[in-house]
């Protein structure tokens, strides 16, 4: 039986058509993936279904009845629940308090919240759907995976039959992703219907029964996952054939550009976050650093790029000891840096791209006249980056915040690469970036290398570091476990190194 049916949905915003005659049919008791690149219109469509947006054209039907939702309240009443990408939880309150927030069970004529009833209700839901959640735990104390489950419990407590999950795996560890998919299975077994938004092909194929693909606001395919392949879905999403596996030719390394010698970084608690790390990165090669996040990558990169002074060891860049030099000196010496967190460190979100384009070069002669910034040349520069790196929308006056994640990343990459650097330090260049942009960024990185630039690449994606790097170091608890040849190393061996074991010790 059809649970949700959206037909002919068109939603226009000033200047854009976010959804153009989109159709989506979801069967009751199934998991349905809504697949598309960032900016394809997935979230807009779900906001229409959830009553946040009113469609310009088209109809929404729930269980065969046509509905018009004015607000999320109406959608909730119709049994639709949404789990947002950024959780809507109060950290200081308990799980049970969060679940019942706004619909608290009361006693004493409404003058007292009935905590026991709330706890019992949450326990009941947990039993029914096989969740392992402690209702009395404070939300701040539980893991992100459990927090997501609390969001699901909130929707279930409000009587949701259809759950919409917006990019549910973006914040989860691989283990938590598996747990989530198990939970989705239990929910559908109980007759619930799931729609999840994603741009990750593998997840759609793995967890969903059916998949609808959106591209540029249009439905380009709706098919059962059993009848399709990664390649077919990728092509539907991007609109052309996509190289899912890049196979980089080996680089032609030249002189040593970056020489890291016995670097040690100690944190406030006296623990060595980076312990005695040495490495050399040569011109024209990609030096990769693999490892599970939090094993010292961030601290190592901060020490190299001049964001923090190491406690011991030396960093030599282009023959000059830069260990104690300022961040500004590093930039002017020709070290470009694509940071891990683009919102925190890569961009000023409320500023336009003109200003963002000269971040770090604000004192460069090219963008200044006297002590004042030459906004005309800054604008030309931003426009160049936008054109060359295919940043959309093509508008230098747009704020950084208005861009999708992939486009923000392309803009940062463009800005840094255009500095004409001798060394680029790149952290997680494709995290949270759609596959079209990922492919583009990887190609640019290799082009830069072929032009003779040294590249230091930190990534937690194994396929990314192995396919792009010429040499690869594995970091574990701040130490280099080993340096391996990415072309010959096996995934098992890498996995062991990342877990702190040498394969031969087995």
């Amino acid at each position: 039986m059809t649970s949700i049916s959206l037909s002919g949905i068109t939603k226009r915003f000033p200047g854009v058509v976010a959804n153009d005659d989109v159709t989506l049919t979801v069967e009751e008791g199934t998991v349905h993936a809504l697949l598309g690149e960032n900016g394809a219109g997935k979230t807009t469509l779900m906001n229409v279904l959830y009553g946040l947006y009113e469609p310009d054209e088209g109809t929404v039907s729930v269980d065969g009845t046509e509905r018009a939702f004015d607000s999320p309240r109406d959608a909730i009443d119709a049994g639709i629940g949404m789990i947002h990408q950024h959780f809507m939880l109060v950290d200081s309150m308990t799980v049970a308090e969060n679940v019942v927030l706004g619909n608290e069970p009361r006693k004493w004529r409404g003058l007292r919240v009935d905590r026991e009833a709330a706890r019992a209700a949450v326990d009941d839901l947990c039993d029914r759907y096989g969740f392992d959640v402690d209702p009395t735990a404070r939300v701040a104390d539980v893991s992100v995976g459990v927090q997501q489950r609390v969001e699901i419990l909130k929707a279930l407590y409000r009587g949701a039959d259809v759950l919409i999950l917006d990019e549910p795996t973006a914040v989860l560890t691989p283990q938590e992703v598996d747990d989530l998919f198990e939970v989705l299975g239990e929910l559908t077994a109980e007759g619930k219907t799931i729609i999840f938004i994603t741009h990750k092909l593998g997840e759609a194929l793995h967890a969903a029964d059916d998949v609808t693909v959106l591209r540029d606001g249009k439905t380009v395919g709706a098919l059962p996952t059993a009848d399709t392949t990664r390649e077919e879905l990728a092509e539907l999403m991007v609109g052309r054939e996509v190289l899912l596996d890049i196979d980089a030719d080996a680089g032609a390394p030249g002189d040593t550009v970056l020489d890291v010698d016995s670097l040690t970084v100690t944190d406030g608690d006296g623990i060595d976050r980076v312990a005695d790390v040495s490495m050399r990165v040569r011109a024209g090669e990609v030096y990769g650093i693999a490892g599970v996040d939090g094993n010292g990558q961030a601290e190592l990169v901060e020490a190299i790029t001049g964001l923090r002074v190491p406690d011991a060891g030396a960093v030599t860049f282009d023959g000059e000891d830069v260990t104690q030099r300022s961040r500004r000196h590093h930039i002017e010496a020709g070290m470009a840096y694509v940071p891990e967190d683009r919102h925190e460190r890569g961009l000023v979100m409320d500023s336009d791209l003109v200003a963002n384009g000269i971040l770090g070069s604000q004192r460069a002669p090219a963008f200044t006249t006297g002590s004042r910034i030459d906004w005309q040349s800054a604008r030309t520069h931003a426009t160049d980056v936008i054109d060359t790196y295919d940043v959309r929308p093509r508008d230098a006056d747009a704020t950084a915040a208005s861009l999708s994640g992939g486009n923000q990343q392309k803009f940062i990459v463009g800005r840094e690469f255009e500095r004409d650097p001798d060394l680029v330090v790149v952290m997680h260049p494709t995290r949270g970036v759609d596959i079209g942009s990922t492919e583009f960024i990887r190609e640019r990185l290799l082009e830069l290398r072929d032009e003779g630039t040294a590249v230091l690449l930190v990534s937690s994606k194994l396929d990314e570091v192995t396919s792009l790097s010429d040499r690869l170091a594995v970091l574990y608890e701040g130490r280099v476990m080993d340096e391996v040849d990415p072309d010959t190393v096996t995934e098992e061996a890498l996995g062991l190194l990342m877990a702190g074991q040498h394969p031969e010790e087995q």
Binding site: L52, S71, P72, R73, I76, H84, M88, L89, V90, D91, S92, M93, E97, N98, L101, G102, N103, E104, R106, G110, L111, R112, V113, K154
Partner: protein
């Protein structure tokens, strides 16, 4: 530097007090003995309780506002406006009868609620900076009350009127005071016959604690200050919760200001920093020290007012020649030291930020 938590700090303060008490008992003639002699008089506790009233009530109001996400730094202004208005209304009604005084009290509360409401509209509807709007509340009240007093009474200080007469708990008071047992007699003097504003304060602490911890509204206040988005998506209007909380802060502060003027003093003093004299700001310090918990906040207010009362006692009773200016500064220095040492208070996540509802898009 690692900061000690509240428990450690309170234990340290308690330990220090215990040492002074022990020294005082062993060496009655020493400085410690003198201090103990002063502190153990019932009048000291009575003064401390009365002094704590405006601070505690304003602090309770501050808790509601700030927990809901609106930092109300204008508590001082609310105390000033209510203390003046209460005297004005009571005076207009004759200023002698109990009915006139209590009507004046209600008038003071109303003035404070109105000013708080204005502050709420400016902060919530017009998205003004809460700190600046709060300072404006203080400055407006600081200018308006003495000015109005000059117009009506011909001077910054109002005419003296009556003040609340003390309430006595029937039977029990006499039984305790005449019991002959020191501690019971002390309790009888301090707690069983007191100014009604003291009982009002006890009631307000208990009710605030209950509302914040055990009612749905209390949960909404917390959610509104920690993550207003969560509250909004749960179907509760964030703006309504914040308006209600700021009005409650006006109500409680109004009670505090009116309690001081018509309850305790019997006039309004408008010279300099007025009779409020920074009590609204001390209130902010006490609720931070009390970590937004009404009970802890009451304790912090008592710590301050206890020191203040001791300070008055030392000036009156001590045989030593110590400059009074130096002694007067003791409570304030203590507050600064305590706040520096605490430093652990976690301000609500969304406090100070205005909230724009997603539904309006």
């Amino acid at each position: 530097m690692r900061k000690p938590d509240r428990g450690t700090l309170m234990a340290a303060l308690g330990g220090l007090a215990a040492v002074v008490v022990a020294l005082g008992v062993v060496f009655p003639g020493s400085v410690a003995g003198e201090l103990l002699g002063i502190a153990s008089r019932p009048i000291m506790a009575e003064i401390a309780l009365r002094l704590a009233v405006p601070i505690t009530l304003a602090a309770l109001g501050g808790i509601f506002a700030e927990k809901s996400g609106v930092i109300n730094i204008g508590l001082e202004g609310l105390l000033i406006i209510s203390s003046f208005t209460a005297v004005l209304v009571a005076w207009a009604l004759g200023g002698t009868t109990s009915a006139a005084l209590w009507t004046g009290f209600a008038g003071g509360v109303l003035a404070s609620v109105l000013l708080a409401g204005l502050f709420a509209v400016v902060c919530i509807k017009y998205e003004a900076d809460q700190i600046i709007a709060g300072l404006a509340v203080w400055l407006v009240a600081l200018g308006l009350a003495p000015f109005a007093s000059s117009v009506v009474f011909g001077g910054k200080n109002t005419t003296s009127i009556n003040r609340f007469s003390e309430w006595t708990v029937p039977v029990l008071h006499d039984a305790f005071v005449n019991s002959g047992v020191g501690i019971l007699s002390y309790v009888g003097h301090v707690l069983l016959r007191a100014n009604p504003i003291v009982y009002l304060m006890f009631g307000a602490v208990a009710v605030s604690w209950y509302v914040l911890n055990h009612t749905a509204f209390g949960r909404w206040v917390e959610a509104s200050g920690e993550n207003p988005n969560a509250l909004d998506t749960a179907g509760v209007n964030v703006h309504r919760v914040r308006y209600a909380s700021v009005l409650v802060s006006g109500l409680l502060s109004g009670m505090g200001g009116a309690a001081l003027s018509v309850g305790h003093v019997g006039s309004f003093v408008g010279n300099g920093t007025t009779m409020i004299d920074g009590k609204g700001f001390i209130a902010i310090a006490t609720y931070l020290f009390g970590n937004y918990n009404p009970l802890g906040t009451f304790g912090a207010a008592m710590l301050f007012s206890g020191l203040e009362s001791l300070q008055i006692g030392i000036q009156q009773f001590t045989p030593y020649e110590v400059p009074s200016q130096l002694i007067q500064v003791i409570p304030y220095v203590t507050v600064v030291v305590v706040l520096v040492l605490v430093g652990r208070t976690r301000i609500p996540e969304a406090a100070g930020e205005y909230y724009e509802s997603g539904d309006d898009r």
